[in-house]
């Protein structure tokens, strides 16, 4: 039998994902610098409340509070031995809240980056990265996640390692990268490269796409970059609710629920099938996004000009297509050594 996410995708034109985990937990009192994942055992009531928020406003899929529950990140807090446990509990709490909803809701086991640079540029080997992700994935599986949700990745090597961990766990998965540097990831990956990469993996994800980054406009430009590759695989759009500002003692994202509702409709018109928010996106935003998706008839694919006019200007002239931006100059090589 197909997994729940695949079934929902077969039945529906679009699926509403959730919003932010970290920034919403801050609003519930999480102290900056503290790992959100420890709350799975220290404050399960608050983590449940976060999950319930998504269920109540009509999300079809939400992520577990396990973004950083891998050994590499938990090491900062001396909690590396708890990677599997914290991942499992994150999924258990989510499973219970999802099952209580009375409609099918996908529990997506969030897996964020290790935070380390992979070999050969950095010190983290493929094998070590697979092990780190695999441990987390096993925990999420034990806790009852329907699908693994690899997110905020910037390097091809790390994406591959997470994919392999999903394969070892025997779980379906989804994967998104963060395109925040002149239309590419900070490691230079273009939307087209990700679209090509997912098709070459031995276990391709159910869906792939973009999350986080710099605002709603940029994210949709990235989605158009995926669509241009012509792949049939469902595309994920999970953009931030604007950009972060510091107001009255806490972080506030300047994207209103109205703007995110517009973003959601445009994301669908761009070709995204799984639509949600990332940092700064609250249940209020999601409620408006659901309403807009349900009441606005599908429209033609928007142009870049229309996206900028409705959601705000792009952060960079380069769209990551590799043809538009200034290119790396051909430097006169005056020397080559054997």
């Amino acid at each position: 039998m197909a997994d729940l996410l695949s079934r929902l995708l077969a039945e529906r034109d679009w699926i509403l994902a959730d919003g932010a985990t970290g920034t919403n937990l801050f609003n519930m009192g999480l102290a900056s610098g503290e790992p959100p994942e420890l709350w799975n055992t220290d404050h399960p009531d608050k983590v449940r409340a976060l999950y319930r928020g998504w269920v109540e406003v009509g999300c079809d899929l939400f992520l577990t509070n396990s973004f950083g529950s891998n050994a590499a990140r938990l090491k900062l807090h001396g909690a590396q031995a708890r990677a599997r446990e914290l991942s499992r509990v994150a999924a258990e709490l989510a499973r219970e809240e999802a099952d209580r909803a009375g409609r099918p809701i996908v529990v997506a086991g969030s897996m964020g980056p290790t935070g380390e640079i992979m070999a050969p540029m950095g010190s983290l080997t493929h094998e070590a990265a697979v092990e780190i992700f695999h441990e987390q994935a096993e925990g999420l599986k034990e806790g009852g996640a329907d699908v693994l949700w690899v997110e905020t990745i910037s390097a091809v090597e790390e994406f591959r390692a997470a994919a392999e961990a999903a394969r070892l766990t025997g779980m379906p998965w989804c994967g998104t990268m963060t395109f925040d540097t002149a239309g590419r990831t900070m490691m230079g990956v273009t939307p087209a490269q990700l679209a090509t990469l997912v098709e070459k993996l031995p276990n391709p994800p159910i869906a792939y796409g973009a999350n986080c980054g710099v605002g709603a406009s940029d994210l949709l430009r990235t989605v158009l970059g995926f669509v241009a590759q012509g792949s049939e695989r469902p595309i994920i759009a999970k953009g931030n609710a604007g950009i972060p500002k510091y107001e009255h003692g806490h972080i506030h994202y300047d994207g209103t629920p109205e703007l995110m509702a517009d973003y959601a409709v445009l994301a669908r018109d761009c070709g995204a099938r799984i639509i949600g928010g990332c940092c700064g996106t609250t249940p209020d935003h999601l409620a408006r996004m659901r309403e807009a998706l349900e009441t606005t008839p599908p429209g033609p694919r928007p142009s870049l000009e229309e996206i900028a006019a409705r959601l705000g200007a792009f952060s960079s002239p380069g769209d990551g297509s590799g043809t538009d931006t200034a290119q790396r100059p051909e430097r006169a090589r005056r020397r080559r050594r054997g």
């Binding site: 610098g33 540029m121 900070m186 510091y246 972080i251 380069g318 200034a326 006169a332 090589r333 020397r335």
Partner: protein, 234 residues
Amino acid sequence: MAEEDDELILSELDDEELVQQMHDDLYDGLKEEIEEGVRILLERGWEPYKVLTEALVGGMKIVGDDFRDGILFVPEVLLAANAMKAGMAILKPLLAETGAPKVGKMVIGTVKGDIHDIGKNLVAMMMEGAGFEVIDLGINNPVENYLEALEREEADILGMSALLTTTMPYMKVVIDALVEKGIRDNYIVLVGGAPLNEEFGRAIGADAYCRDAAVAVETAKQFIARKHNQMAAG
């Protein structure tokens, strides 16, 4: 390009050509070539500080500009930084001996809960290249680390970095602690990291947000100059 043109011997270049070539080699992250270039310039009697600023920092400025403009990305910048570091390793002991000008002292670190240090390392290296003394606290720093190092080192500048939206508010925690202790105005506070912006930097009480390493160096120099002017006037 013809084969014979490819066989280029660094030591046969005149000073100007060699510096140009080193800029290219830095751009391409060629560590050994940079080391060789540094040695040749020193043998020709260049002051270590001149080698540093003209050959290395000048080259990294190009790398930094192209990173800012979305032409280079992190992998290329890391390679370039590695090559620069190799050149710096030769120059560092000599700079100490020759009493090269010290522009100021900076304490820098990634905030608590955050392990991302690519940007911070680049800033540290570029600052060193520009003549600053840099105390690098590494990653995952609680308030106490910053306070203790600032005091111990009698630093001029505090630099903080964060890559995550969940850790960037911690910069405010550190700045608030400085304010509480009545020492905020003793330091120039610079912040940076992918999710930040200028408005955020201002709102949390930093002196400036620096979008990349090259901007950090320029900003630090400006603030230090201003500080000196104030002292001269006072």
